[in-house]
Amino acid sequence: MWRIDTSTTAGQVFIGLIVLGFLAFFVGMIPLMQALPPRGRRLLIGAVTFLAGAIFAAEFFLPVDKKGENWLSPAIEPAQSTLQIINALALGLGTYGLMRLHLRNIVQKRAQWGYSVVLILAFLAMGFFSVWNTLAEKGELPKTGFLNKGFGLLFDNMYIPLDAAMFSLIAFYIFSAAYRAFRIRSIEASILMFTAMTVMIGIVMLGNIISYSWLGLPVEQTPEMEKNPFSPANIAYNLALPRVAYWILQVLNAPVQRAIEFGVGIGGLAMAIRLWLSLERGVT
């Protein structure tokens, strides 16, 4: 019902007409949206948002057959494909906006316009080699030495190290922030600090060195230790830093994370309902 057979000429014509129809509709919507007063615009956007969301909600709540499907189920995949098309349009719009802004910077020679030149050159070079490389992988364009060198230089020798370097800067900020912020000012802060330290040491090889090499704590739990959980050997086994760190993560951290996730989930649901019903501000 929701699929068109594109292998036939009739199907191809039909899908072409649908595309043209939607294009005409959306182009026609632009003057209409501009002509409408803000209240009418809000009403129209709200109605479209509600209808789009209602498809997903109705598909989820309507009774299903033995296959687990209802009459709306086949529409979900095309609807999600539409979302991907909208995402792709947003990407194109973002690229257009970025180029427009930086071209204007260059033309008007605004402050630090040199960076805009670098951005546009980098964008064009990476775009050129990426598209060529992707087409070459599919055998649609030749894979030449120039492509290998160009793409390798930009991707392997520039993009990867630059991106990795940007992300790794966080480690330095964390070091500086931890030095200044982790202070014993209250009981709660002290508990947090000692727990964090235990996990930090316990999960890395230093925890192993301290526990097993320096303190000589048992590495393995023998059947005898399992039988006598309060035996000194078993207590020593459980006091090893890696085991304490794992216990903190598994026993203390996991329930708290679950509680947070439940809270976030309920908050997300409330927010989704507000968005669906256009109760959030900024819909104009």
């Binding site: 991907q84 392997d156 090889m205 192993n208 996730e261």
Partner: protein
């Protein structure tokens, strides 16, 4: 300029000095050959055992969603996983839900498989980039070739020898999600029930994943480069994880040392001021 005590100067230490100390610490421990045998944590052991239980020829899906930003943690995991899959003679396919993850995983997988003697199309394949994990997974559960259509080389995946006997995601045994983002929840939610999920998050994400590990929805986990190092130890290889873990380990020690020094400095300064 007023006279400051050593501890007061410690409290006001320039952040650039801290950065230099951390930088020197990382460089030294990346280069110094320190060999420490560590105890394998239970999530890593479960991860390893899950792969070990598979039979040669079984299908594994590697969901590779990391980019260059997390290369320090994700690449050691990715490398160790691919090497283990090849050692077990398993067939595997790679899929990315992030555009840049497609290129990066393809380049590294091509390098590792060449070293391991794996042939593209016969023992492994790359499905490229798919947007929207939920839609892609739901589609693969119903009809995998119709959802993916073609691989990165433009070959219809139904024509790839590696895909023989594979029609849906249920024909796979394990999915391994190497990711710094939240894609694992989509795998958990929409996978076929027989498909086991193995997870390779970055260190900051691992804390959230213990709920899935606890419930059994995730069968095993490698936490960042440390997890990769433990995994390499089980495999008996020394890869990127082993060298990165040394630097991370001693950086943790340095941070703790400075946190302690900072607290002593605070205490001593207050005492000097009579506070």
């Amino acid at each position: 300029m007023e006279n400051r005590t050593f501890w007061q100067q410690m409290l006001l230490i320039d952040r650039r000095i801290l950065y230099m100390i951390l930088f020197a610490n990382m460089i030294i421990f990346l280069l110094v050959p320190v060999k420490v045998k560590t105890v394998t944590s239970p999530p890593v052991r479960k991860f390893y055992d899950t792969i070990e239980q598979l039979h040669p020829g079984d299908m594994v899906m590697v969901s590779s969603n990391w980019g260059a930003g997390t290369i320090g943690e994700s690449l050691p995991q990715f490398e160790a996983v691919i090497r283990h899959l090849m050692r077990k003679k398993l067939r595997f396919t790679i899929l990315s839900f992030e555009p840049q993850a497609r290129d990066i995983s393809l380049r590294f997988a091509t390098r590792f498989t060449k070293e391991g003697g794996y042939k593209y199309g016969e023992q492994w394949a790359h499905f490229g980039f798919m947007p929207s994990p939920a839609v892609a997974i739901k589609g693969m559960v119903k009809d995998l070739p119709a959802t993916i259509k073609q691989d990165v080389k433009g070959i219809p995946i139904s024509q790839l020898p590696v895909m023989r006997g594979v029609q849906t995601l249920a024909d796979y045994k394990v999915v391994i999600d190497v990711t710094p983002s939240g894609t694992v929840s989509a795998w958990i939610s929409y996978r076929p029930q027989n498909l086991k999920v193995l997870f390779c998050p970055t260190s900051v994400m691992a804390a959230e994943a213990y709920t899935f590990l606890d419930s059994g929805q995730v069968a095993g986990m490698l936490t960042g480069a440390i997890g990769a190092q433990e995994y390499e130890q089980l495999l008996g290889i020394e890869g990127l994880g082993t060298s990165f873990a040394k630097a991370i380990s001693f950086s943790h020690a340095l941070i703790i040392l400075f946190v302690i020094l900072g607290n002593i400095a605070l205490f001593m300064s207050r005492r000097a001021q009579g506070g």
